[in-house]
Amino acid sequence: MIQISNLTKNFGRNTVLEQINLTVEKGQVYSLLGKNGAGKTTLINLLLDLLKPDSGTVQVFGKESSQLKPVDKLMMGIVGEELALIEEFSGYEYMIFIGKIYQIPTATLKKRIADLFQYFFEDGKDLRKRISKYSTGMKKKLAFCAAILHTPDLLILDEPFSGLDPLVASQMVLFLKKYHNLERTIFISSHDLSYVEKVSTHIGVLDQTRLVYNATLQEFTNDGTRELDAALLKILKPNESELEKIDWL
């Protein structure tokens, strides 16, 4: 589904990603972890062809990401760092607009919108509110609904749980579990380890421009004997000695 080979990306003299090799197979839920600024969003933008690699290749559905045709992109669903919500619209109008881009038949579209709103939004009035009036969490939920409206084979989610209250985040985890099957792939970049742990089948860790870990969730947590955050900290090794130097605290 996703094949990344020897990928390097620089921004000017600053190398953000270096020699990344990664394969995500059909049916996996792959979670990419890493510190802030590790390059997770850059990697997603490269997958989406919003950025060009300096060297190496990024393939999605067996094609270079730059060669993806509109018909290929119709099989992808995305919640990017930029939620790309059209704030002039109400939530309902936005969903209709997105449905038209994905060429979903009207009856199907209306049913799906109704179902999704029923599940994710408690107050039906939210549908008619202008998006610019939505809270951060509501915007995130709406972007997620728009991403899965056409039931894509590949779902790419950049920080899907951030800004959500625990209830909605749990709802999203349940939804992703139901959505996931052997034909569908989910690629997640996230900091929220407790939620990642509940949905992921595979884990990758980006640190200092490189993919330093890439394995199944079982391997990562040592068959569940280790907590996910402990496993991650073991790899990222936080610098605690610097804290001791701050004597004025």
Partner: protein
Amino acid sequence: MMGYFLLIKIKSGFLDLKNPLKLFLFLMLALTSVLYGWLLALFSQQVLMGDVGELTINLLFNYILLIIFIITLLRMIFPTYKPQQALFPLSYPLSRWHGYLFSVINGFFTPYFFYLLLFLVSGSVFLGEYNIVFLAAGSLVLVSSQLFTRLIQYFIDFRLKKKAFLVLVIVAILATGLYLLSITLVDFGSWPGILVVALLLVSGYFLEINQLEPKKHEHNGGLKKNSGVYLKLITNNPKVRGPLLVAMVGKVLFFGVDIFLMETKEEHLMNGELFYWIVASPLIIYTYVFNNTWGFWKAIWLNIEIRTGDAKQLLWQHLRLMSLPLIADICITLPLLYISWGEAGFILTFYFTSAFFLIAMSFFWSVFTPRQINATFQMKGSTSPVSVLISMAGVLLLTTLRVNNWFYLIVPLYVIFGGMGIWVALNYYDNGKGILMRKLSK
């Protein structure tokens, strides 16, 4: 504090001149300003000797000062609307009066005022007995025009308390007084100029302390009952709605004055020359908004890109977005141009050729020279300077249709260039996509 502020402003101006190209440009423009001042002085001597028909020295100075006043005023909206610069937000530990004064003074620290002052000084040096009158009147007209511009900007950029509208009464009384006392711009060299500047300065402060909040933070309470999706994309987007409104109102005013002049003096505004036709074309809605469509509607670009990646779909959305403002422009412009000129053949050819060129090229500019839009009116301009210049040059060249019918031969070239603009943008969108991402995600 004020002295230190002035010092660093002057110092930063000189620091720019370390760049050899900037230094060269500075010297050239300074020399040109001095040269124009000298030419004015020469011309004034001829006027004084009675060699230039019935033109008197007072009439000449009035014309010059009127041009200075109008150009200073037009800087606000041309080629794009520039909002008022609030140098120190309210969070700074400054009194309102100090903050206001700093902003006013800062507004004068631009190359435009420097070169105009140079022109006034050199003109007065080369002039004979009228030198002090000209310098004093010119300087006070310049200051009045800038202060008057700021007053207008307060009404455009801010929500104001009701009592702020008293300023309109003051300005109306001032204008009536000047008219009744037959005070012309050349009289600004003495007490009338000082009085006008003082009144405008105080009026500006009155507006400063009576503002509620910047309009850029404005949001409507609920959805408006607009049926069309594309109308909603314009009316619900304050960053688009504001500039388009200013453009349309400006255009109506322009033609209103033009028709009034035709009725009273049988002459066109600006003699119906080059600048007139720039305003008559649909240029302004492109330099204000549509040369940077994806800067204003980034979410639409991003949705089309990540969900389909289809450049043709993008072109279609681009055309749909501009369709309503363009129809409005056609409805305003063509009837008024016809009333004013009556040359249907030229008007239709000029308008629709320039419209096609601007429409086609705006797709190109929107892909290759996008700009991030952070406020309803932003200081750095909402479309790229290159796109503005080329769009203006394209429209200006079309005015040659009035000179000779042979120039109608360039019309097909505009169609070809426009077509090429679309073709290049569609075929090289893949590269442009990177530019869009980089520029719009800063």
